[in-house]
Structures are given as structure tokens and as C-alpha cells.
């Protein structure tokens, strides 16, 4: 149903008067989903997929990976600039445009540098070899006698040089990426490994940067979606009489349970949305919040993923003279990007173009095409940076809202989510429940380690169902990622180990990934339980970890964090007296057991009277191989520590049987300035090793380090995150 009080011509005529148009690179006001004439290749195996040398002497790098506030735009500039000896200020990055950029996979899992960046590096190395080849002909000098410098190829013999644009400006390389093209020797690096200043920060400080929220099209309308009162409710009736009286009102759009209002300006859309009287069926399909963990435990298991199986762990446990067991849980979290999701969509001649801060424009394109029942080639998704993004939040859903409304109204439409839209309707980091058991022999050796995680099942896909498709009853692929099971398998060497992810048939809320998904929760259980064992056998927790590791780089981060924190060996809770008691704890991670190493020491203060935990300081030793930009890396590590300290101490989505009740920042408190920890970082640079990511790994050590530090301070184990005052006080009462 499309309620449209005005005809097209009317609202075309009436819109536009207040429109402010911003021009953005790569986002022309009429950007066809299909281009007439030759289209730039987006092939992953073509140099032209990634790189273009422009006639004006600049270079464009095309990447499917996008900058979510992590600084990868700058890092990619460094990687490409280094390999091609191109001044960084002559490089422009085009990100996440399905018409122009290769599909390098979603911007997730801390693989932007290790995958995305390395694909760019290899394309650049191939391009460099080709440019030298061309220059050799032009200059009549053998390739071995040529070097690259400052955007030119130069003869070592006589210093003659020819700029890249003279060799190839505005023309295609038309060559495949050569996986063997020689890359630069790290010893000769000029910009990789240097703390190059972020390319986007100045504009952001002048207030001139265009976020997706600032994007405008001529004739653009504004829409707000009216969400079901209860999450699974059916829309029974709509009365938009009051909304129609609001000046600027254009239309009510309804499709099954998808209900939106469209207006000529944003404030009119907000007022109209508030004025619509919608009646929804009652629905109480959510579990009782107080009994969430019983609900998780009672949810049918559809699959068991054994993530590590060494020896015979169950048998070894049975015959062990001493056993330990513990259960850990981590609450449901919200991404809570500071700026709620926003998108603009335009429907023209059967093609849909959408401007979005999505971390996965290529995936989004498929989903939007499916929802609208059109071909993928008829959809173009163009990334524009949004507010910091830590996983699949509401960006894709806002894009789908805009796409659906744009198609229904035939007008360019901007959808700005409200704070409540974001807090209630973005997909959630699912609840995680973990059981651990261990068997010890007479000498205190671990003879058996068993871990069982209860997490939503999911497929090997990086997507979450679009909310609009769901509400509107339109075609959708119900597959989702579920939860991630890494970090359940452990890096420690014990004779018998069995770790299992029990995949649950359902989970209360649409699940998605949030920074360090699954791995953070699993590492919380793993590293906190390991600490319990170290204490049980009277071992120092850092020494105990080192003793059971074989990996040299892992041992080194632990040794270095011990030095950084001036760690004094300890073999039991300090249980100091006094109201406010200090303690310190450690934790370790080798990300997915195959990449980035992090070790932490957390210093906390626990107030026995109020139950308040203050995280005073985090010490981090970090090895992600070759460092591209040490300052950008530190920025990411700091972000990991603060974000995850917030999740560990405070964050928990509240809900009743019908819907989420954490609707804003008052209902979902996060860490604020007075409570942020100091952060000391020791970066280990290994220029000759592969570069790995840093957007997530540090998060994995934060909850267990805090829990272990609280134990050190007051002798109680916190196994249920968030570590609220009530939980701390209850734990203290039990000892």
C-alpha cells in the first residue's frame, strides 16, 4: 500500500527548495547503477581492479574494504604509496563502491590489512614492474638500471626520469596481478611503519568532513520508519490523519509490517512519524530476561562443532584426582554507534543506487537486489563513511529501508535512524554461555581441559537478514553468521583437550557480529578459567601461561607485558583489607590461534562497599607482525581496551517479553571519561613478517584480565559479564 496524497509532479515541484547539495568525490548526484560504455573492471586479479594512474599525476586506489573509523584509508595510502614510490598526497582512495571497487570481502574480522592491504600491495608491486618495463622502452635503459621515485621512473645511469602519468596516465594497465611481482624490501621502507598522520582527521576537525549523514541529492525526501511496538507484532491498522496535517508530509508507505512516513524535510518526517497512530497485535515471544541463561541452556542444539580434540579429555577428567569447573556468561550487547545509521537511496529506471556506511556494500547489493526482486547489476551501493562501526550494526538495514521507500515513492529518499531505532532494532551480539571443566593430577598438572560453548548456529556467510525485507515480507535469505567459535580452542599444550561449540537453533534477537565476535566471549571464559587453574595449583598466572605455550611469539608478548607492567609474581589472591582494594590480572590471546598476539595486565580497584570496579590501567604488549602505521595501531588498541572495558563492566541489553527496553544511552550506559583506564602499550614490530590486523584482538584480553584482577584484589571470581555492582556485591557476600 502506498498512500500518496500528492501526485508525483506535485511533490517534485514542492521538493528541492530547501535542499542543500554537497558534492562528494565518487558520489555524483546522478550515479547510475549501470554505466553506459566501458565499465572499469572490478576483477580481483586485474591491476586495473585496484589501481589507476591519472593523467594529472595522481593515483586512485580502489578497494572493497572501507574505513570504519579505523584509519585503513591512511594505511592503504601508505601501502600503495610505498610500493609505487608515490607521494601520499597524490593518492586518493575509493572505497566500497560496487560499480568501481573489487569485492575484497566485508570489512570484518581484522583482515583489512592482512587481506585487503596485501591485495593492494601485490597489485601495486605488479604495476611498478609494468611501469618500469614501459619506462625501459621509453628511456632505452635496461629495467635493472631503473628505479622508482616520487611518482616517476628514474634511470640510475643518467638520472633521466619519466613520470608515471606519461607512461600510462588515464589508460588501463590491462595486466593480471602477479602474485610473484617483487615487493619492496622492508629495509627500504620510507612510509610503511611510520606514524603517518591520518588523511581524514583535519577535515573532521574543521567540521568539513562529509559523513553519510551529510549526503544529499536534489529532490531528496526524508523518511522515518515506524517500528512495531512488540518485536514480532503484526500491523493491524494505521491512522495517518494527524500526520497528513503536518506541513511537508508527503506519503505513508506500508508493506505488511513495514510502515514509514515520507516528508519533504527531516523534522517534518520525525513529527509525522510521531503523529501516525499505528495499532499492533500483542506479542510476547521473547524469553524472560531474568531467566535468559536457563532459556539458552534449554534451546535445542542443532549441531556440535568440535573445535579442538586432543587425546581423550572426558576419560582423563573422570580419572583425575582433582577437578575444577566453572560456567561463564557474557550478556547481549548493542553496537551503539554514536551516529545512528543513515542511508540515501535513489530509484531510477529500474535501477537502485544507495549511499551507505555499510561495511559490506557488495553483500548489501545482493541482499537489496533480492529484496526488491531485481538483478544484482541493477543495484549499486556506494560507501560513504559513517559514525564508527564495530560490526554489522543498522547501516545495512537503514540502506534497505531507504531502498524500499525509494522504490515505492520513485523519489530519492534519505532514512536517518533515531537513537531508539539503533538501540532497539540493530542486530545484537548474541548471549554466550560457556562451561569449563579441568582435571589435575597429584602434581598439579592439567591432564584434561573441556570447554562447551552454547551459541547461536549460523552459516559461513557474512550477513544478517535485512530488517526491511523481514518486516515487509519480501524475499530474503535467512542465513546469518550466528556466533563465532574461535578462541574456544586453546593455544596451551595439555595432554587431553576437547572444546565444543553447541550450536543453538535460535537466539532471542537477530544476531550479528560486534567487535571480536564470539572470540572475545570465548577468550573471557578460557583465560579466566585458566587463571583459576593457575591459582589452584599455586602458580604465577604469567609463568603458568608461558609454561604451557610453545609459540615463541606468544611467550614474548607475555614476557614483554610482564616487563611493561613491572609484574611481581603472585600465587594467590592478595585479599588486601580496606574499602578500596587494588589488584592486577593478566590474559593472553593468539587471535584465532593463527595471527595477532596480545598479552595484557589490568590494574583494577574494587570498592568492597559499593561493588564498583575501576579499571585504572591496562598494559598491552601487541605483535601483529609488520606494522603499517604505529600510531594508527595504538589508536585501535586503545579503542579496543576502552570499548571492551565498557562492555565488560556495564553493557547489557535489557528487554521484556515484547521488546528491547534499552532504548537510548540512559537505558544502555557505556563508559564515560571519568572512568576510562590509562593505557600503556608495547608494540612489537616485525617488518619482515606478514602484517595482521588489530581492530579486534586486544578486545579478547580485556574481560578476562579484569576478572582476574578482581580476583587478585578481593578473592572472588566474576564469571558473568557485565560485572555490575550488584554482581560484585553478591560475589563478595558469598566469600
Amino acid at each position: 500500500m502506498l498512500n500518496q496524497p500528492m501526485n508525483r509532479r506535485n511533490f517534485l515541484a514542492m521538493s528541492g527548495s530547501l535542499v542543500v547539495t554537497f558534492t562528494l568525490p565518487g558520489a555524483a548526484s546522478s550515479a547510475p547503477a549501470r554505466q553506459a560504455g566501458p565499465v572499469k573492471t572490478v576483477a580481483l586479479d586485474e591491476v586495473d581492479g585496484f589501481l589507476a594512474v591519472n593523467a594529472d599525476g595522481t593515483m586512485t586506489v580502489y578497494t572493497g574494504k572501507v574505513d570504519l573509523g579505523t584509519g585503513i584509508r591512511t594505511a592503504f595510502t601508505q601501502i600503495a604509496g610505498e610500493e609505487l614510490d608515490m607521494p601520499l598526497n597524490r593518492i586518493r582512495i575509493v572505497e566500497g563502491d560496487t560499480l568501481l571497487t573489487p569485492d575484497q570481502g566485508a570489512t570484518i574480522s581484522s583482515i583489512s590489512i592482512s587481506r585487503g592491504g596485501m591485495e593492494i600491495r601485490q597489485a601495486a608491486a605488479t604495476a611498478r614492474a609494468a611501469l618500469i618495463g614501459e619506462a625501459s622502452k621509453v628511456l632505452g635503459v635496461a629495467p635493472e638500471q631503473l628505479a622508482t621515485e616520487d611518482g616517476s621512473v628514474m634511470s640510475r645511469q643518467d638520472g633521466r626520469r619519466v613520470p608515471y602519468e606519461k607512461l600510462i596516465g588515464d589508460r588501463n594497465f590491462s595486466i593480471k596481478v602477479n602474485a610473484k611481482a617483487p615487493v619492496k624490501d622492508p629495509k627500504s621502507y620510507k612510509v610503511v611503519g611510520k606514524p603517518v598522520a591520518r588523511v581524514d582527521i583535519p577535515e573532521k576537525m574543521w567540521g568539513e568532513f562529509s559523513f553519510v549523514h551529510d549526503f544529499r541529492l536534489p529532490g531528496m525526501l526524508h523518511a522515518r520508519v515506524i517500528r512495531p511496538a512488540a518485536m514480532g507484532a503484526q500491523l493491524l491498522s494505521v491512522d495517518d490523519a494527524a500526520a497528513r496535517r503536518i506541513p511537508g508530509f508527503v506519503a505513508t508507505v506500508r508493506r505488511n509490517n513495514f510502515l514509514a512516513v515520507v516528508a519533504r524535510d527531516e523534522w517534518a518526517a520525525i513529527r509525522a512519524a510521531r503523529a501516525v497512530k499505528a495499532s499492533w497485535s500483542p506479542w510476547e515471544g521473547l524469553p524472560e530476561k531474568e531467566r535468559l541463561w536457563d532459556h539458552v541452556r534449554a534451546t535445542p542444539v542443532v549441531r556440535r562443532d568440535v573445535t579442538l580434540n586432543t587425546g581423550a579429555a572426558e576419560e582423563a577428567l573422570k580419572s583425575a584426582p582433582r577437578t575444577l569447573q566453572a560456567t561463564f556468561d557474557f550478556a547481549i550487547n548493542t553496537h551503539g554507534s554514536l551516529g545512528p545509521s543513515c542511508a540515501v537511496a535513489e530509484w531510477k529506471d529500474g535501477n537502485l543506487t544507495c549511499w551507505t556506511a555499510s561495511q559490506q556494500t557488495h553483500e548489501l547489493r545482493k541482499q537489496v537486489a533480492e529484496m526488491l526482486g531485481i538483478g544484482r547489476d541493477n543495484v549499486r551501493c556506494i560507501f560513504i563513511e559513517g559514525s564508527g562501526c564495530y560490526g554489522r550494526n543498522g547501516n545495512e538495514d537503514a540502506a534497505a529501508d531507504a531502498a524500499l521507500i525509494a522504490k515505492e515513492t520513485g523519489q530519492p529518499v534519505r532514512v536517518q535512524w533515531s537513537r531508539e531505532d539503533e538501540h532497539v532494532w540493530e542486530p545484537k551480539g548474541p548471549p554466550t554461555l560457556l562451561d569449563y571443566r579441568a582435571g589435575l593430577d597429584q602434581n598439579g598438572n592439567v591432564v584434561s581441559w573441556l570447554a562447551d560453548a552454547y551459541v547461536p548456529e549460523g552459516q559461513k556467510v557474512s550477513r544478517t537478514t535485512l530488517l526491511a525485507a523481514d518486516l515487509a515480507g519480501l524475499p530474503k535469505d535467512p542465513a546469518h553468521t550466528g556466533s563465532i567459535h574461535q578462541q574456544l580452542a586453546i593455544p596451551y599444550v595439555f595432554p587431553n583437550i576437547r572444546t565444543v561449540a553447541h550450536r543453538l537453533a535460535e537466539t532471542p534477537f537477530r544476531p550479528s557480529w560486534i567487535r571480536t565476535p564470539g572470540r572475545m566471549q570465548n577468550n573471557f571464559g578460557t583465560e579466566a578459567f585458566l587463571d583459576e587453574i593457575a591459582h589452584a595449583v599455586g602458580a604465577d598466572p604469567i609463568e603458568f601461561r608461558i609454561r604451557h605455550l610453545k609459540d615463541k611469539r606468544g611467550i614474548e608478548v607475555l614476557e614483554r607485558v610482564a616487563r611493561l607492567a613491572d609484574w611481581q609474581p603472585r600465587t594467590g589472591a592478595q585479599r588486601r583489607s580496606g574499602t578500596v582494594v587494588a589488584g592486577r590480572g593478566t590474559a593472553y590471546i593468539k587471535y584465532e590461534l593463527v595471527r595477532t598476539y596480545v598479552a595484557a595486565v589490568a590494574d583494577v580497584e574494587v570498592n568492597r562497599r559499593t561493588g564498583e570496579i575501576r579499571v585504572v590501567r591496562f598494559h598491552i604488549a601487541h605483535d601483529c607482525g609488520q606494522i603499517i602505521n604505529p600510531d594508527g595501531l595504538k589508536n585501535q588498541i586503545e579503542g579496543n581496551v576502552i570499548h571492551t572495558t565498557s562492555r565488560t563492566l556495564l553493557e547489557e541489553v535489557q528487554f521484556n517479553r515484547s521488546t528491547i527496553t534499552s532504548r537510548d544511552w540512559a537505558g544502555y550506559p557505556i563508559l564515560r571519561f571519568p572512568d576510562i583506564p590509562e593505557i600503556a602499550i608495547d608494540l612489537i614490530d616485525r617488518p619482515t613478517e606478514r602484517p595482521w590486523g588489530a581492530g579486534e584482538p586486544t578486545s579478547g584480553v580485556v574481560p578476562p584480565a579484569i576478572s582476574n584482577a578482581v580476583f587478585d584484589a578481593v578473592g572472588v571470581r566474576l564469571r558473568s559479564a557485565p560485572f555490575t555492582r550488584e554482581k560484585v556485591l553478591a560475589a563478595l557476600r558469598r566469600v
Binding site: V20, W206, W267, G336, G386, Q636, G639, V641, R672
Partner: protein, 156 residues
């Protein structure tokens, strides 16, 4: 009924029309006057992303009725400085690389400016207290505190 309102933004007289005097100032600045510096974060005066100064005081423009701005002087992030003539806070934020996404930066700088207007050499504690109602989701807090301190030194 449409009514016209006049105020100054960064020293320049601006006139806007609205049919709702309760419309938040944020929408007038962003959608009618084309400013990009102040951001929508919550619309509830909870996060600070939308902060501008009205007659010398920081306000949450998402919750400040546009009618109350009539006749007032509004100062925005673009108004305190620019690339050609930067404000020390802007310079200090760049020097400290005090942003991840930077969506919060407008509010941080405008709130910090209000602090520095009244306290020329704030301690870390003063800064953290002054920014306690400004949220940053990326976890850039330590850099922001350092940037405000640096700006204070530059202005001393």
C-alpha cells in the same frame, strides 16, 4: 504557520523559516543552512555530538528549540577556526590524532572550548569531568584528554 527567525551563526546573520518553533536548532543548522559540523547522535541531549554554542554557552542543538535561538549568537565548530586560521583545539586534536571515526569530535571540541573559556589550565580530572556527558563509542578518550591539555598549553 510559517514563521521567520533571525540569528547569527559564526557572526553572519541568518534567516530561516519554520512552521514549528519547537524544531530543534540542529535541523535548522544542518538542513536549512547546510552545516555539517554538528552531528545527530541521539536527539535526547545524551551524547553531545550536536553541541554548538549559543551566546557563549554550549548547548545540545538536538534538544534546543530553534525559536529560543532567535536573536542569539550561535558559534559552531566551523566558526571557531578552519584550515587557514585554526583554533588551538582543532590543531591539538590533529596533533594528537584524537579521532577514530571522529563523529564525536565536534561535541568534544565545542564542550572543551567551553571548559577552556573558564579554566585556562585544566587538570586531567577537570577535563574528564567537563566531558563526562560527551560520549565517544570508539574509545578515543585518552587522546581527547591529551588534545585538550595540549590546546590549553598552546593558549597559555
Amino acid at each position: 504557520m510559517t514563521q521567520a527567525l533571525t540569528f547569527t551563526v559564526n557572526g553572519k546573520t541568518e534567516r530561516i523559516e519554520t512552521d514549528d518553533p519547537k524544531m530543534p536548532l540542529l535541523y535548522a543548522l544542518r538542513n536549512q543552512l547546510g552545516f555539517k559540523s554538528m552531528h545527530f547522535g541521539c536527539g535526547l541531549a545524551q551524547c553531545g555530538a550536536c553541541t554548538v554554542h549559543v551566546s557563549g554557552k554550549p548547548v545540545r542543538s538536538c534538544s534546543f528549540p530553534v525559536a529560543s535561538a532567535a536573536g542569539e549568537e550561535i558559534l559552531t565548530l566551523d566558526g571557531i577556526g578552519n584550515a587557514a586560521k585554526p583554533h588551538p583545539l582543532q590543531l591539538a586534536f590533529i596533533e594528537e590524532q584524537a579521532a577514530q571515526c571522529g563523529y564525536c569530535a565536534n561535541g568534544m571540541i565545542m564542550q572543551a572550548k567551553a571548559l577552556l573559556d573558564s579554566n585556562r589550565s585544566p587538570s586531567d580530572r577537570d577535563i574528564k569531568r567537563a566531558l563526562a556527558n560527551n560520549l565517544c563509542r570508539c574509545g578515543t578518550h585518552q587522546r581527547i584528554v591529551r588534545a585538550v591539555k595540549r590546546a590549553a598549553k598552546m593558549m597559555a
